[in-house]
Amino acid sequence: MAAKSSSPKSKKSKKKQANDNREFVAEAEEILERMFEDLLDLQEQRHGADEVDPDLVNRIFRSAHSLKGLAGMFGLDGIGEVAHHLEDILDGLRLGRLSVDSPAIALLDDGVSLLAKLTTGLDRSDASSTENAQATQAFIAQIEQAIQAPSPRISDELDELQIDPSLLRALTEYEEHRLRENIRRGRHITLVDSIFEIANFEEGLSELSGAVREVGEVVSILPSPGDVPESQIRFSLLVATEIDSDQLRDRLDYPNTTVQSVQREADSKDRSEDEAGAEPKSANPEGGDTASDTGPEAPDIGSLRSISDTVRVDVRKLDELMNLVGELVIQRNAIAGLATRLSTGAHTARIGAELTKTDKMLDRKLKELQSSVLDVRMVPLRQIFEKLSRVVRRLSRDLTKEVELDFKGADTELDKCIVEQLVDPLVHIVRNALDHALEPQEEREAAGKPGKGVIRIEAFQRGNHVVIEVEDDGRGMNLEAIRAKALASGLIGEDETLSRGEILNLVFEPGLSTAEGVSSTSGRGVGMDIVRSNLAEMGGMVDLATVEGRGTTVTITLPITLAIIKALFVRVGPERFAIPLNSVLETMALPPDEIGHSEGREIMNLRGEPLLLRRLCEEFEIVGAGRDENQFVVVLGMGEQRLGLLVDRLEGQQDAVIKPIKGPVQKIKGISGATELGDGTAILVIDVSAIVGDAVRRREAA
């Protein structure tokens, strides 16, 4: 296969500059703070230790590495160069080419301080830039002097291992070095193989590697394919320990786990006797590893001053600004349309091409403007957390139940309008947890739990979404009780077999969740249908997990912003609609003969799974939509549910500014708002959660 590689520091990438520097500064500040902290730790470890924590060094290396890459992308050559030199030092240190006592190591602190200065300088006037450039050059000269030409050790320790070469191939240079180093120190190298459920492998994996770290080092974690079912995944951990494989096997008593030595026995014994005098010490059993577990969220040390001063702005002004940007985006789409039309005309092709070019520039700038405006609207979740803790304090007094409230991720940011709408559902969930899920003190103590219940709320960003988890250590939910209640209220049939997940999902059904019977026995379910529909309005989802007797976790997933979305435009007869792209899983053409029927409903075969189909034209009673031509199916996903929506044509994707519909037509089921096209036409935006939910309900009712 053709391998392409390139490393252009092209002029093109320099175009970004000024506007984007803020973006750079934000992430660079974070990286630098972490480096400052890690260097402090490194300094402490250097005193009186012959070996520093490899994880720590590697983390600092990665920071320098990321910073270098980032600076390169933004054309900030000075910063990139300093980071590059720091990376050299750290690479030497982690690969064993430099010792901790090397004069180069002492330069790390200065280097990070210089980087901080350069980064802060980006936002100021150019007055200091010559001075900075000189400092940079002087510093680089210093480093180059300090690193003496490294001569990598040639060793073949790896030959001692009886190990699948495909595993060795996936090790980075650094991991190979750690492996060699451990063999040299006479540690036992073992392969720990374990199989996990894909849905929650991180927990199991971190438990397993935690157990290994108590007695040694995890050199590498490799996900490996193999004959496991699709819902599972196998990991191979290459580990180095003081104890031998048999002793390790005794310690690692986990299901689906095998422990196997990969060393030729005799060799490793000789070696450890050779170096017995060196008294190999265990690789930082506690200190280093816990630090790497908690990651970067240590307290501020104030080594960098925040460079942005704040201004308070009325949120209505921001809405107005947002609206204006939205209008501009629409106008831009109109220009794009014109450009395309011009390009296809024989006499106007050249003008068309030029207009297309100008339009591309405009588009780029608009995107930048859009993201800066969106950025201004972002607010941390802290304010909601504060409100929640007030609610909990009051309620815990009223109910005379003691509870410990634990927040994490208060700095996670969301669009202001989402944050506002989020308060009610969250209060609802937390109140449920306190009122129904947490048992009274005596009951908890009888069950061997601490008398004081714990509610943990954690927010974090994942891709373009923010996830909020509300976890309690209460009584959990009784699936049988939910089932019984659903049966009594006619939601499910007598002989319907439901999976665990399906039973849990019943809690979100209107008929069930308002019932009191469940809440007193199962600990959940008051008004959860309202919580779900509130969240769905914001394009969010909610999921439940519960262990009876141990507690329940409610997981909310929300898009970071609502105002501008990417949408797929589709046509049905004479009408056009927009479908938010984040709910679209895929699209494909569907010849009429591939549409099947089952119990009176149309279905199709999607890679072996039946997929329920709905025709958009029937949904909104559109006449004139083609029935016999080839149709297109848009596969929609909402949480676990799937639905294929049949349309006449796909018309591409575009940014869409969703505006609420006002006036007499505002509450049309299946429509969440409207957007405007470049030519001024208004297009209705499909409410995916309503359509999918409705279709699934109808299927269940049938």
Binding site: A170, L205, S220, L581, E586
Partner: protein
């Protein structure tokens, strides 16, 4: 619609990669994973047409991810692009040796990146 998975731990770099791909002339759906672990969880959920990954990441590194994808029957044919900061030659050779289709060095030129991705996506389409 072509589905592309981006695996990269830096949020800024991730959005640079994503916005660069959004300018492709074909419709794409981009899924972003902020770690190798997250990528492992995302892979079975969607049928991806292409994966773009960084090398240096916490938890599992990009090479391990490439090795996993190439050795897994279900994903073996997905085109893979490594986008990594100028690193040791050995990591690059390893990446290509493990079966990555392209290796780009950061700072990458967005146009070249798009070209590589478009070629790989087109190649896959012909194969079908």
């Amino acid at each position: 619609m072509q589905r592309i998975l981006i695996v990269e731990d830096s949020a800024t770099m991730r959005s640079l990669l994503a916005s660069s791909l959004e300018e492709l002339e074909i419709p794409v759906k981009i899924v972003e994973a902020e770690s190798g672990f997250e990528a492992l969880r995302f892979l079975p959920r969607d049928e991806f047409d292409l994966v773009v990954t960084d090398i240096n990441m916490p938890d599992i590194n990009g090479l391990e991810l490439v090795s996993f994808i190439r050795n897994n029957e279900k994903y073996a044919k997905i085109p893979l692009v490594i986008v990594s900061t100028e690193g040791s030659e050995r990591d690059r050779d390893k990446g290509l040796g493990l079966g990555a289709d392209a290796y780009l060095v950061k700072p990458f030129d967005p146009e070249i990146f798009r070209e590589v991705v478009a070629d790989l996506l087109a190649g896959r389409r012909e194969e079908r």
